[in-house]
Symmetry: C2
DNA sequence: GCAAAAGTGTTTTCACTACACCCATGT
DNA sequence: ACATGGGTGTAGTGAAAACACTTTTGC
């Protein structure tokens, strides 16, 4: 162990953001086009350095959310995702990034032309399919953020963070389908979500904007942990053998 | 946004470790008695500064595991838990800590008197009950580590990391009971774990030395994700109302 | 034999799937 | 009327809790 007079090497700390939203029933992530080196001209996740020595990490994430995405962090879901510190992850030197996951309701228009000039929503499928790439280790961070979202909507009420203040059950179903990547039975989904105590609170009025029968409106309930959880079926690549089959 | 000539403030990075193990069917955490200020003489989680600018974060965690706990990180479960950076968390200044969770099989004896003089296993209940306290924000880190362990043994094979190379099903049940804090039915547990494909692999030879019928020995199977998961029942503080009751 | 721990069978309950069917609205 | 999306009934399936019961050891 180093002795008392030894001084540890300082590092530079950044925050990076995986900001997810739903746009026309498709999962999108906010990316920016880098204006400076390294990776100038490449796509990257929004983020930046901790601004001063007294700034809390989550406050830095909130600030970047406002500066780079023009989003109000007080009304958004925001959680820490993980810390990425591979020594070679940034060619400028030892830069450690604390990644965060943010969930926003679907905004009707892309980002207004504010401080962040080159920010835009992009379907996550562009990146997961490999058609587009991301700077630094941001592909890894995006993958981790997507996996976090997929598992968290199973047993927490995180899916409501993708919706507006009030929403229909079908709206919520679109969230699950977009995040998980497959379709669900609407009738069973309808009852399943309502059977979870505290998940949804009915609000008096209905919504009649489309044709067809008007849908009841709900808002997020008081419960954050879903019991029973909304378990996703395993993808049908192969049916797992049960205990009895090995008999 | 700061202009190009602005330099971000460097911070000091540490790693802290929540090392959990089972000792006589009780969950224990490794704590050290601090020999230097701040919090001199108080209990704290093992940890230390990143040693040089090229050291990966997880390597630093492995190094601390070896230096402070005399544990070989290659045979242990080790994962990142989260990053703690409240500006006032350390009176020495801006020190950000990347906390890790480590799981060790039950060692027969406490730590050998190696580099870490004052390290000792302590039942976690001493801290969760408030009888003992921890330095810095380590109480928060411990709570987060415990919660991570509780949820991860539900849907991953993490519980096997508490066991030796080979173990009986009852050994594994003790892990679940210690981490969750309540007892399970041994007969149902016996079948439930074996019904999860890939969770356990029977090792040919059986037996073990207690009185009573000898138990079959198993080792951890190839599957890391448990499907179906080992769901814990909700604590019986109150039975949640189902959908039909609100009718 | 008896206690203790391992392992099995069986019943009941309950959640989930699949799908037929009814309801309320716009055009 | 009929298309469209919202909402309900119900039978079949499988997982899990509860618990009686059998097996295999040490003493």
């Amino acid at each position: 162990m180093p002795n008392e007079t030894w001084q540890p090497p300082p590092v530079l700390l950044t925050v990076d953001l995986v900001i997810l939203t739903l746009r026309s029933s498709t999962l999108h992530v906010l990316v920016i086009e880098r204006g400076i080196a390294p990776y100038k001209g490449h796509w990257a996740l929004p983020g930046g350095f901790i601004s001063d020595a007294g700034e809390d990490i989550v406050d830095a994430a909130r600030r970047e959310l406002r500066e780079e995405a023009d989003l109000d962090a007080t009304s958004l879901h925001l959680e820490q995702l993980g810390t990425y510190g591979r020594p070679d992850r940034d060619p400028r030197g030892r830069i450690v990034s604390v990644a965060h996951l943010a969930i926003a309701p679907g905004l009707p228009e892309p980002e207004a032309g504010t401080d962040a000039s080159a920010a835009s929503w992009c379907p996550v499928e562009e990146f997961t399919s490999g058609r587009r790439s991301l700077a630094f280790d941001h592909h890894q961070i995006l993958d981790d953020g997507l996996e976090r979202a997929r598992t968290k909507i199973e047993h927490t009420s995180l899916a409501t963070a993708f919706c507006d203040e009030t929403f229909t059950i079908t709206d919520l179903q679109r969230v699950y389908e977009a995040v998980w990547g497959f379709e669900l039975d609407p009738r069973n989904f309808y009852r399943k979500v309502q059977a979870v105590p505290g998940f949804l609170t009915p609000v008096g009025s209905d919504r009649r904007t489309t044709r067809g029968r008007p849908a009841r409106l709900f808002q997020a309930g008081p419960e954050h942990l879903l019991r029973p959880p909304m378990m996703r079926p395993l993808p049908p690549d192969q049916n797992p053998p049960t205990q009895s089959e090995t008999k």
